[in-house]
Symmetry: C2
Subunit: 259 residues, 2 copies
C-alpha cells in the first residue's frame, strides 16, 4: 500500500511543485514580459522573437502570455517604448537650447543603436509615454528657443527623421547585416567599378566613413539651419562643441546599458 500509486487526478502530490514555491518571481507581469522580450531581442534579433520562445524564457506556457498582453504587436510596441526610458531628458535650460537638443537626439540615437532590432520597428506609431515625454521636451525646447509655427514643425520633424533614418541605416549595415553582407556589398562595388566609379572609391563603405562623426556633422547642419530661422545673430556654421561631444557620447557606452 505504501508504494501504491493511487493516482491523484493531475499527477502525484510529491511530483507537483509545492504550491506557489515554483513561482519565486511575481507571478508574471506585463513588465517582466517586456523586459524579457527586450533581452531576447537584444540577444537574438527581431525575427527570433516568438511568443513560444519568450514564454519559454519566462518559464511559462506560451498561451499564458496572452493573459497579460493582447497580441505580439503589443509586446513589440511596449518593448520599443521601454528602451527609450534610457534616454535621459536634459534639464530644461533656456540658455543653451542647442546643447539640450543635441544631447537628446544623440541619446536617442545611442539607444536605437544599442538595440538594433528597434530600427526595424520604427515604422509603427510611437505613442508610448517615454517617447511622448521626449517629444514633448523637444518641442518645448525648440519653442522656448523661439522656433515657432511651420519652423517648429519642420525643426522637430527634421531632427526626428534624421535620427530615425540614420539609426535605421547604420543598424542595417552594422548590427543587422553581418559582416558578410557588408563584405559582399564591398565586392559588388568593386566588381562594378566602371558602372559605379564614385561609389566604389568614395562610397559608404569607404575607409574614411565614420558613422559617428558623419551623424554629428549632419546634426550640426540641421541645428544651424534651425538656429538661422530664429533670427539670432550668431553665424550659421559656427564651431559647435555641443554636437561634437554628442557624437562622443553616442560612441561611448555599449558595455553597460544602465537601465
Amino acid at each position: 500500500m505504501l508504494g501504491t500509486k493511487h493516482s491523484g487526478s493531475p499527477g502525484d502530490v510529491w511530483l507537483r511543485p509545492p504550491a506557489r514555491a515554483a513561482r519565486e518571481a511575481p507571478p508574471l507581469s506585463r513588465d517582466r514580459i517586456v523586459a524579457e522580450a527586450i533581452a531576447l531581442l537584444d540577444e537574438e534579433g527581431a525575427d527570433r522573437l516568438t511568443m513560444r520562445r519568450l514564454a519559454e524564457r519566462l518559464g511559462t506556457g506560451s498561451t499564458t502570455l496572452y493573459w497579460h498582453v493582447k497580441t505580439k504587436n503589443d509586446v513589440l510596441d511596449l518593448a520599443l517604448d521601454a528602451i527609450f526610458a534610457a534616454v535621459e531628458i536634459p534639464r530644461a535650460d533656456g540658455q543653451d537650447w542647442r546643447a539640450g537638443i543635441a544631447a537628446l537626439i544623440s541619446g536617442w540615437r545611442a539607444v536605437l543603436l544599442e538595440h538594433p532590432w528597434s530600427a526595424a520597428l520604427l515604422g509603427r506609431p510611437m505613442l508610448g509615454p517615454n517617447v511622448l515625454a521626449r517629444s514633448e521636451f523637444l518641442y518645448a525646447t525648440l519653442l522656448g528657443a523661439g522656433v515657432t509655427g511651420p519652423h517648429l514643425t519642420a525643426a522637430a520633424y527634421g531632427l526626428s527623421n534624421y535620427v530615425i533614418g540614420s539609426a535605421l541605416m547604420q543598424a542595417t549595415w552594422t548590427a543587422g547585416g553581418e559582416q558578410a553582407t557588408r563584405a559582399a556589398a564591398q565586392d559588388r562595388f568593386r566588381a562594378d567599378r566602371e558602372r559605379y566609379p564614385v561609389l566604389a572609391t568614395h562610397g559608404p563603405l569607404a575607409a574614411d566613413s565614420d558613422w559617428d562623426s558623419s551623424f554629428a556633422l549632419g546634426l550640426t547642419w540641421l541645428l544651424d539651419g534651425i538656429h538661422a530661422t530664429v533670427g539670432a545673430s550668431m553665424p550659421a556654421c559656427a564651431t559647435d562643441e555641443a554636437s561634437v561631444s554628442a557624437a562622443r557620447h553616442a560612441r561611448r557606452g555599449r558595455g553597460s546599458s544602465g537601465e
Copy 2:
C-alpha cells in the same frame, strides 16, 4: 467523323488549352512576379503579401513562384529596387548641383510615399541596380560640387537618412496607419493635455503641419550646411528655386557677422 471524339490522351484537344495559348503572357517571368507583387503591395499593404496570394493573382500555383525566385525576401528586395526606377536621375550639371540633388531627393521621397509599404522595407540592404545608380549620382554630384572626404560621406548620409526617416515617418502616420490611428493619437494628446502641453497644441498633428513644406525646409537646411563646407565665400544660404522660400529672409539681414 467530324463529330467523332477520338480521345487524345489527357482530355479532348478542344477542351485543352490550345497549347501555349493559355499563357498569353510570357510564361511567368521574374519581372512579371515583381510587377504583380508591387501591385499587390500597393493595393493591400505589406502584411497582405503572401506567396499564395501573389501566385493566385498571377493565375499560377504558389509553388511555381519558387522556380523564378528563391525566397519571399527576394521578391521584396526586387520590388523595393524596382520602384526606384521611377526616380529620374537629373542630367549631370556642374553648375547647379543643388537643383540636381534636390530633384533627386524629392523624387526619392515621392516614390517612397507613393508606395507606402516601401518605408517598412527600408531596413534592409539596398543594393539593387536602381538604388545604386541613384546613389552613384548623389555621390558624383556632391564630389563635383567640391564636397570631399568626411564631408562627402556626411553629406550623402545626411541626405539619404533624412529622406528615409521622413518617408518612414510620414508613411506611418498617413497611408500606413489609417485615419483611425491618427485620430486616436490626437485624442491621446488632448486627453493628456497637462502632461504634454506643447505636443497637444504644436504637436505633429497640429493644424499647420504640412509634410511637404516641412520636408523642403529641412532639406534646405541640410543643403545649406553642405554648401558651407565647400569653402565657398558665399553665405550659407544660396539661391534655390523651389524649396527655400521660407528659410531665406530669416537669415538675410545680419549675415555680415562672423563668416
